[in-house]
């Protein structure tokens, strides 16, 4: 099982949360939303690749 991807995504989440706190403390609330959206997009891109792998392997295994 590929646990490294799970931890990579978890660490991206924690880093984004820390950056959000720092930015909002520094009074740059307008950047908080952008950082969050960028983090979610990066993470979803990684996830989409894995979902594609899962679905194609199921398709080839069961000859659908």
């Amino acid at each position: 099982m590929e646990t490294e991807l799970i931890f990579k995504i978890a660490s991206v989440g924690i880093v984004v949360a820390i950056i959000n706190i720092l930015l909002s403390k520094a009074g740059r609330d307008e950047h908080v939303l952008m950082v969050t959206i960028a983090g979610v997009v990066i993470v979803l891109a990684m996830l989409a690749e894995k979902i594609l792998t899962l679905l194609t392997s199921l398709q080839s295994l069961f000859k659908m």
């Binding site: 799970i6 989440g13 924690i14 679905l55 392997s57 295994l61 069961f62």
Partner: protein, 130 residues
């Protein structure tokens, strides 16, 4: 044996990661959970890949029609794909979408099974002698 222990360890580690990310009150814990589910599903698929050939051989040896066996195998695949997708929808909080995915899966299975059901009806009619 070693593989399943590693798998369970990985799943528990993923649960800990989800709990850790949930503390930061970001929406990332859903994504981490879905990633863990995808990784676990990929592991299950690699396990299933070992069974496919053996099952097919056994079915051939016991005189089961290869075509029928392929249909059953295909239905298992449709079930798994729909189940995974519906679970991801439900995990993201989209219950209505999950219900629709499950309905689509049931309809797809019905479409695959329909020729077999018609065949069964034909055999029944033949046995009844009409």
């Amino acid at each position: 044996m070693e593989g399943i222990v590693k798998f369970c360890g990985g799943v528990l580690a993923a649960v800990m990661a989800v709990i850790l990310v949930r503390q930061s009150k970001s929406e990332f814990h859903t994504v981490v959970g879905i990633t863990a589910a995808v990784a676990a599903g990929l592991y299950c698929v690699t396990l299933m890949a070992g069974f496919g050939g053996t099952l097919r051989d056994a079915a051939g040896r016991f005189g089961i029609d290869g075509n029928d066996f392929a249909t059953v195998f295909k239905i298992i695949g449709v079930c798994l794909v729909c189940d995974f997708s519906a679970d991801f929808c439900r995990e993201s909080g989209l219950n209505a979408l999950a219900g629709n995915v499950e309905l689509a899966g049931k309809l797809a299975i019905a479409a695959i099974t329909l020729p077999l059901a018609v065949e069964l009806l034909e055999v029944t009619v033949q046995v009844l002698g009409r």
